[in-house]
């Protein structure tokens, strides 16, 4: 399985956020920034929006040959949500894809 760099994963995630924004109303759009909050306080993303984003990101990763399940049980059971920010979600993707690649 190909290994993507942190920059590539971050860009892919931001591209998915941009794509999601196309379907979201003004005032509900996600901030497109490596330091943005994705889910939780300070983000307009509700749980359905998060599910859509996760599926979009999985699909985008799959098109690059990276097969990961971002709702992996370990990800869901962490004390701090890995979905809270662009940075933490990037960490999660890198971690899961590294495991898959080994």
């Amino acid at each position: 399985m190909p290994q993507l760099s942190r920059e590539e994963v971050e860009q892919l995630l931001l591209d998915c956020c941009t794509q999601l924004n196309q379907m979201r109303a003004e005032g509900e759009k996600l901030e497109i920034s490596p330091t943005a909050t994705l889910f939780g306080e300070g983000s307009p993303l509700d749980s359905l929006g998060l599910v859509t984003l996760i599926f979009d990101v999985e699909e985008a990763l799959s098109s690059k040959g990276v097969e990961v399940n971002l709702s992996d049980a370990r990800a869901m059971s962490r004390a701090r949500s890995p979905y809270r920010s662009v940075a933490s979600m990037t960490d999660l993707i890198l971690e899961l894809s590294a495991e898959q690649g080994t």
């Binding site: 749980s47 359905l48 599910v51 859509t52 699909e59 799959s62 399940n69 709702s71």
Partner: protein, 234 residues
């Protein structure tokens, strides 16, 4: 009916599951099925996976392969299920757990995996299977009917969660059909159950298929979170 859909049927090797496979193949659809045992169906529009749906790793692997080979799904029919008929006081805990593992947790797992493949369908559908044992509160079927009641409530909530994606989630609740699921129940007990129905006769797989067809129709985009029981129960 529009044909050419990609329909997944769990528990496809016998009984109602097999009837569903044969029906949708005859309708011109592509059917993907899974079962623990081998499946006798042969068609160029049928793919079979020999998988135990309670094995989450095997289910994940199966759906990865489904995605690679077929791309998307239009419908998931969570037909696989089991029954354990016994008075509660005499039922070993392990037997009740087995019922919940297959009738509840496996449905959660299968659906979680299938969601990713259903998203790209124009009319994505999930159909779950309940039973008239839920509304009739049948003695001797506590674990079985509780597992199906759990799936009913879960499906209603899921209908709300997935409505934004256009995915409908509905349930059919068959009245007694002569399949292996009813093996072990006396003819007298079944007769008494059927006598409680508004329509006092045995159901057939075709009666269930008729309901599933209705849920799968493109015109049923607004039908979600519903349970449709056969025979007038509920």
């Amino acid at each position: 009916m529009k044909s050419g859909r990609q329909i997944f049927v769990s528990g496809c090797s016998r009984g109602l599951g097999l009837a569903l496979v044969e029906h949708y193949l005859a309708a011109g659809d592509f059917v993907i099925g899974c079962s623990r045992s081998e499946c006798s169906v042969t068609s160029e529009r049928f793919a079979h996976f020999q998988v135990d749906v309670t094995d989450s790793a095997a289910v994940s692997q199966m759906f990865r392969e489904v995605k690679q080979r077929f791309g998307h799904l239009d419908a998931l029919l969570n037909n696989a299920g089991t029954a354990a008929m016994s008075p509660f006081a005499l039922q070993p805990a392990a037997a009740a757990k087995k019922v919940f593992d297959l009738n509840v947790h496996a449905v959660f797992g299968m659906t979680g995996q299938a969601l990713r493949l259903l998203r790209s369908s124009k009319h994505p559908r999930i159909v779950n299977f309940s039973t008239v044992a839920v509304p009739y509160r049948l003695e001797g079927e506590a674990a079985y009917s509780a597992s199906k009641a759990a799936i009913e409530q879960w499906s209603r909530v899921l209908a709300h969660e997935l409505g934004g994606m256009g995915i409908t989630v509905n349930m059919v609740g068959p009245s007694p059909i002569r399949t292996e699921l009813l093996r072990g129940i006396s003819e007298e007990a079944l007769r008494k159950l059927i006598d409680r129905q508004a329509i006092r006769k045995w159901a057939t797989p075709q009666d269930v298929i008729n309901v599933v067809d209705f849920f799968l129709r493109p015109e049923s985009d607004m039908i979600t979170g519903q349970v449709l029981y056969l025979g007038g129960a509920g």
